[in-house]
């Protein structure tokens, strides 16, 4: 018998067999992206996005349907008994679906062009094309790994989201860490992990939606696709077609079960990290993990009786998870008591907003903002960063005090935040970030007094005032600007003085601020930066001074709201 090279003819045949799907998809895409918005005279771009969602669904369904022969014994036997190897059949399906996908993408593009929409909307395809390519391959891989088409669909989504699931598990580890190693914040660690180590924006190509395609894109995309293709080849060769059940490969079954059982406790732990204690969270997480694992294994194995091997895998996985978490904690705890040498510090932030620290780091690292100075940026973000060596020394001293005692004196009705964030920008370019959860106490202790003393020094420093009340203390800023103030009553928010030039008030305000003394709440004021005298808050008696700059008569730029009461004697006297 003559040997035939039948790959191309079968591929062409397979593509021709798509004609019904092509017709159906054309109608769906045309109807939803062109005709309906035309009739409704609605936002066409929304419908284009809707069309893209449909495109994903159509591609996924097609891939799963084409590979469904793997999940039906007579069907599988029929195709495998034909002189086309299983690998070739999978390749034929991948190529056919790729051609089908290109056609659908062309339909969407045609719809955009036809309606004369902004071509910017097509930028999203720089991300979607890698996604679609990955989904075509992942659907094949998942179909090989699964023994059921619905499960193959679920596994396609699971595999696509696997990098995100890994991130979630990492966040879970960090959330445990932040409760054990003081000063370490899960948010900071996650932020650092995503930005410097686990670059999901590259992996999911999200960074390219607004950016241009670069060499990394051109290299990363084929590497990812090649990696999935190699997995397909490996698992096609190892697939046992006699195996039934939802997942064909035992190893993969356990892999899915272990990761899936970590998602639920991880989500719980991350969501409730601020409301529950560490011990109860760990217990609940462990219980949720066991329950999730049991349900997943029972579902996949179609039996309520869990096998011994499943229990062993779970136990080993949990030991491994504990080992990874433990090692991370061990490494982090080595830096727990580290306070930088002031000589090595370029500048330091003390406050309560880790978000501000991240923004500042981003600003400093991003050269595209050269049109705006860091001083201006700090003003716009209300951020106080100390660069003076004396201030830095005071803060490192304060840091040492915090390491010894994580409480602070406050009146609970007054101050409500309890996070102390310290960020050191080191001269070597590195950043040390610490986030302490402090416990408020109403009884003043020696430790509180020590911290208050250091904080007070900082609060009265020129560096602080020059940043906090820049419109009064920063001569460079003040000169040449049209600055005004409006006085309101706190009680009923009524206007007492409509508008007063700030130069009239400047001296008296400075005098009152210089004399301001926070007493036992200096430390709380330092990191919360609230500046509302207690009496103002309690009695709702006092004044609010709105400070603003008139760039022009129409353009008013509000700079600050200054609350004060009778303790601002000079100002009150002057205003009378």
């Amino acid at each position: 018998m003559e040997k035939k090279n039948n790959f191309m003819p079968i591929l062409i045949y397979s593509i021709k067999e798509k004609k019904n799907w092509v017709l159906l998809s054309t109608v769906i895409i045309f109807l939803t992206t062109t005709l309906i918005p035309y009739i409704l005279r609605a936002d066409e771009e929304f419908f284009i996005m809707f069309g893209i969602v449909e495109l994903f669904i159509l591609v996924l369904i097609n891939c799963l349907v084409d590979n469904s022969f793997l999940h039906n014994e007579p069907k599988l036997t029929y195709y495998m008994s034909k002189p086309v190897t299983l690998s070739r059949q999978i390749i034929i399906n991948i190529v056919t679906n790729s051609v089908f996908t290109v056609y659908l993408v062309a339909l969407i593009v045609a719809s955009v062009v036809f309606q004369g929409l902004d071509y910017d909307i097509l930028k999203v395809f720089k991300m979607l094309i890698p996604w679609l390519s990955a989904i075509i391959l992942l659907a094949s891989l998942s179909s090989i790994l699964s023994g059921n088409t619905l499960m193959a669909g679920a596994m396609t989504i699971f595999n696509f989201c696997l990098p995100l699931i890994i991130l979630l598990v990492t966040m879970f580890i960090f959330s445990i860490l932040e409760n054990i190693v003081i000063g370490f914040s899960a948010d900071v660690l996650n932020d650092y992990f995503i930005k410097n180590i686990y670059k999901l924006d590259y992996l999911y190509f999200t960074r390219y939606v607004d950016g241009s395609i670069d060499l990394v894109y051109l290299l990363l995309l084929p590497i990812i696709l090649l990696f999935i293709a190699l997995l397909i080849i490996r698992f096609v060769k190892r697939r046992k077609n006699e195996n039934t059940g939802f997942i064909v490969f035992n190893g993969y079954k356990y892999f899915v079960a272990v990761f899936a059982c970590l998602i639920i406790p991880a989500s719980f732990s991350i969501s409730f990290s601020r409301y529950t204690g560490m011990g109860s969270r760990l217990i609940i997480s462990a219980l949720l993990a066991i329950l999730s694992y049991y349900i997943i294994i029972a579902f996949v194995e179609k039996s309520f009786r869990i096998s011994k091997s499943s229990i062993k895998v779970f136990a080993v996985s949990m030991v491994l998870f504990a080992a990874v978490t433990g090692s991370t904690i061990l490494v982090a705890s080595q830096y727990e008591n580290t306070v930088p040498n002031p000589e090595d510090v370029q500048m330091v932030y003390v406050g309560s907003s880790i978000w501000s620290v991240n923004s500042a780091s981003e600003f400093l690292g991003d050269r595209s903002h050269e049109d705006i100075s860091f001083t201006e940026w700090k003003r716009n973000h209300g951020m106080i960063i100390y660069e003076d060596i004396n201030s830095i020394e005071s803060i490192t001293e304060l840091h040492k005090q915090v390491l010894m005692d994580q409480t602070y004196y406050t009146d609970p009705d007054y101050y409500w935040m309890s996070n102390l964030v310290l960020a050191y920008w080191m001269k070597d370019g590195s950043i040390i970030r610490r986030d302490y959860k402090l416990i408020p106490e109403e009884e003043l202790t020696k430790e509180h007094a020590d911290k208050n003393e250091i904080a007070h020094e900082l609060l009265i420093s020129n560096e602080y005032k020059k940043q906090r009340f820049y419109y009064l203390y920063d001569e460079k800023y003040y000169s040449g600007r049209r600055l005004f103030a409006k006085l309101r009553s706190i009680n009923d928010y009524s206007t007492i003085i409509e508008e007063r030039d700030l130069k009239d008030l400047r001296d008296v305000l400075k005098k009152d601020i210089d004399n301001q003394y926070f007493d036992n709440t200096s430390f709380a004021e330092l990191f919360m930066n609230d500046m509302r005298p207690k009496a103002v808050m309690e009695n709702e008696q006092g004044y609010l001074l709105e400070i603003y700059e008139k760039v022009s008569n129409e353009d008013i730029n509000y700079l600050d709201e200054l609350y004060f009461n009778e303790s601002f004697t000079s100002t009150i006297e002057y205003l009378k």
């Binding site: 003819p9 008994s81 034909k82």
Partner: protein
């Protein structure tokens, strides 16, 4: 020639096939018979490489199938539970399979007429018998060197069965085709098989040319005067014995002439007849020997 050597397979912890050895010669019709669930279909699926063996090998004309999947081009498998692609007619399926096999249009058209099949009817709308005929037509039109038929005549009427065998025998004679048929219908196989492999619980109990098997396993009926204990006949290779009235019916592998002589010498022999054995009777005897069908 198809050679299966030391083939073993486990499905999980269950040993489905145990050291299977099969030799089917060119132009031979090989009958694979066995109890339900004994592994007949599993062997056929191993030949087609749907399943991969744990041990042993399968070779066709000296080439190992696992190492050279190209050989499958020369095989055609008609499975017990038939599958046809959705909404396909026989004609469409013929043209699809033409991409993979050297399908003979001439044979296809001839067989359509012979079996009176409408080639434009959607296959999944056909009756079970029609589907079997359609699958058979395609298998013959594909002109394979090795044809595997799994329960192909199951559910067919006698006329169609006869037509099947006529075509099959003609193909084997004309084209040197090797055919492996697994079937429960042992009476049908009796008429057409050259060689038979009897299976039970994943093992081949016996593999022999059918004629040789019939020569080896014989059945006699005899009656003697007075009491008689058939256990004394052990040396004649007694496989089974049964007493109906005063007549003993004995299945044996030993020499029947010697048995007759022995009985004449030791007893007053009232009756001694040689009976012919069908494949079905051989099958029951063989499986009875391993306890099948004799459970309490």
């Amino acid at each position: 020639m198809l050679t299966i050597s030391s083939l073993s397979k486990k499905f999980g912890d269950f040993q489905v096939l145990k050291n299977i050895n099969i030799n089917a010669e060119k132009s031979q019709i090989y009958g694979l018979v066995g109890s339900n669930g004994c592994g007949k279909t599993t062997i056929l699926k191993h030949i087609m490489q749907v399943y991969k063996q744990d041990e042993g090998y399968i070779a066709f004309d000296g080439e190992e199938v696992e190492k050279n999947s190209e050989i499958i081009k020369d095989f055609y498998y008609v499975q017990d539970t038939l599958y046809f692609p959705y909404q396909y007619t026989l004609n469409k399926l013929f043209h699809y399979e033409k991409l993979m096999y050297n399908m003979s249009e001439e044979k296809f058209e001839y067989l359509l007429k012979y079996f009176s099949i409408d080639k434009n009817k959607v296959l999944n709308k056909m009756s079970k018998g029609q589907k079997k005929q359609a699958a058979f037509v395609l298998s013959i039109a594909a002109q394979p060197k090795l044809l595997l038929l799994d329960e192909i005549v199951d559910g067919l009427d006698a006329v169609i069965k006869r037509k099947f065998w006529d075509i099959l025998i003609k193909e084997v004679m004309d084209n040197d085709m090797t055919v492996i048929i697994s079937s429960h219908d042992l009476k049908e196989l009796d008429n057409i098989c050259d060689k038979v492999g009897i299976m039970h619980e994943g093992r081949i109990l016996r593999e022999e040319n059918l004629e040789k098997m019939k020569e080896d396993i014989k059945r006699v009926q005899f009656a003697v005067e007075g009491e008689f204990d058939p256990e004394v006949l052990k040396e004649f290779g007694i496989l089974q014995h049964v007493k109906i009235g005063s007549v003993f019916i004995v299945t044996l592998t030993g020499n029947t002439e010697e048995l007759e002589k022995y009985l004449k010498n030791t007893h007053t022999l009232l009756l001694f007849d040689k009976l012919s054995m069908s494949l079905e009777e051989i099958f029951i005897t063989e499986l009875g020997g391993v306890g099948y069908g004799k459970e309490e």
